[in-house]
Every structure is written in C-alpha cells, then in structure tokens.
Symmetry: C2
Subunit: 153 residues, 2 copies
DNA sequence: TATTGTTATACTCTATAACTATA
DNA sequence: TATAGTTATAGAGTATAACAATA
C-alpha cells in the first residue's frame, strides 16, 4: 500500500475541524432537508419558494409583490416568475388595486388554499421524518435557537 | 386607502405559518450565515467550499479527490475546479501516488496551512458575531442538535 | 470491467441593472 | 422624481453523462 494513501477508518472524521463550526453543520443539515423537501413538494408541482410564497399569500391576502419580496427576503425581480408560476396554475391571482394601477393585490384562489393545505401536511410529515432523531422538546429548542439567531437581522 | 392593501404592522408576522417550520427558519439562518461567510472569506480569496476543502486537505494530507468528494458530499466533477483553484494558488498540490497513476494525493503547502490558520480565526470571529444572541451553552446545544439531525444520513 | 480524474453541459438559485407604466 | 412590476443577464451552486488514462 502506497504511503500517501490513508486508512478507511480515518475518513469518518476527516471533516472534524469543520464539524466544530455551527455553520458547517447547519449547511449540511440544510442540504439534507432541502433535498427531501424538493422531493416531497414535487408531488404538488411546488418548489420550496413557491410553497413559501403561497403560504404568505394565503395568510395575508392582498399583499403586493414588493411587500411579498420583502417578507420572504427575495428580489422583486425573482419573485415575478414565482408569481407567474402560481398564477398560471390558478393557485393565486393578480387582482387590480383601486387607486394604484401599478400594484397587484395577490389573492389565493380556493384551489390555491386547498393545495396549500395538502402540501402543509406533507411538509409537516417531512419534518417529522427529518427530525426523527430529536424529541419534541429538542425540536422546540432548535426552533427557538434558530429564531433567536434570526433576530439579529 | 384601497381595501386590498394591508397595514404595515401586519407585515411583520406575515410568514408566521412558515415560522413554525424548523426548515424555514434553518434556511433563513443559513442565508444570513452564508452571506456573511462569503464576505469574510473574500479577504483570503476563498469561498465556503474552498475553505472546507482546504480544511480537510490540511487535516488529512494524502487524500485523493474521490475520497475528498465523498467526505464533503460534493460531486467529483465539481471538485475538479475547486482543486484547480487551490492548486493554482499554491495552497495545495496534486502529488503522484506510488502504485496508482490515476490518483493524486492532495497535500497542503505551507502557504496553504498558513492561510487556513488565518482564515479559521476569521471564521471563528464570524460565528462569534452571528451567534452573539446565543450564550455558550445555547451554542453548544445548537451544535449538538444539528449533529444529531445529520446522524440520520 | 471498474475506477479516477476530467470535460461539457444544464438546471436552479440568486443578484444587478435597466426598462415601462404609473404615481 | 420615485415606485411597482418586469425583463434580461450573469454568477454561483449543483447534478448528470461521457470520455481518457489507468487499474
């Protein structure tokens, strides 16, 4: 065996320095979650961002695109195709706003609300699976810690 | 004021449904962290993935690209340009492996080790800043919870 | 036949600049 | 002049297929 190779067992902890960083672990977890979320949302023809957008439109009907972009922290320009996607599928609609013809009030259709309801259940199941190694209190702690970090923003 | 508009104060919690999902909070935190990490690593001409790669090469000199790709969970094909980048800058080198001319043993240069040392300090500072709202025990808890979630993989 | 590194390519996500219509 | 929505575009990040060299 050549001297420059390394034993298989040593590979397990080869990223041990990185594992001390919260950010590295967070990215790895995010990648795992995201891959599974993409998979489960595909059933509904949704991506993570169209799911999020539909959620906010259902929760706050009447928002315009600038407000929505601000809430979800995405560029207005990138929101256009997201809204197009949802509107083409009749899940939301762009309604005219009285008094300002520049704006569109975004409203969910009943189909949009129904699809969101079904998708939410599947996302809850997805999280149940992904966080199976944590008990309820640990999940609550994790949620709380993440929200605390977000509070710096 | 048109009926379809919404009061400013209602915008604050417009993503309240999403905020019940750990995944949504995790993505938002990841985005915050990543933006700051990109900023601080730019000083060293590093990206997150070149920093990670350099870390593993320094920790485990002699790995080949297939092993490294497996450790970092990135495609071998995408690793090529990452290694090219680090090698061009003389931070690592591709050394021949005795007995297998297909493989390269990846070795850090002393410049690579020195740059990594300096970059690690800056990444520690970056995490210190980003997690300022958490005390030491909370940070340890967060790290532990994230590693538990990764254990399903 | 299988593996290693590589190239080419495509798709998603994200960021920026500039346009139009309206205010 | 400023704002809302839009278009175009470019840069990352990521995934897949196929190839040459070597095992």
């Amino acid at each position: 065996m050549p001297t420059a190779t390394i034993a298989t067992q040593d590979l397990a902890n080869a990223d041990e320095d990185l594992n001390n960083f919260i950010g590295y672990n967070l990215k790895r977890v995010y990648s795992l979650l995201n891959a599974d979320l993409i998979r489960v949302l595909a059933e509904f023809g949704l991506r993570a961002v169209t799911f999020s957008t539909l959620s906010v439109v259902v929760a706050r009907p009447g928002l315009n695109q600038t407000q929505l972009a601000s809430i979800l922290v995405i560029e207005r320009s990138n929101l256009v195709q997201i809204i197009d996607d949802l509107a083409t599928r009749k899940l939301i609609e762009r309604a005219p706003v009285a008094g300002d013809r520049r704006r569109h009030a975004l409203l969910p259709t009943s189909e949009g609300q129904a699809l969101l309801s079904r998708a939410q259940k599947v996302v809850v199941d997805h999280e149940e699976r992904m966080f199976a190694s944590l008990h309820a209190e640990e999940r609550a702690t994790l949620l709380n810690l993440l929200q605390k970090i977000r509070s710096i923003d």
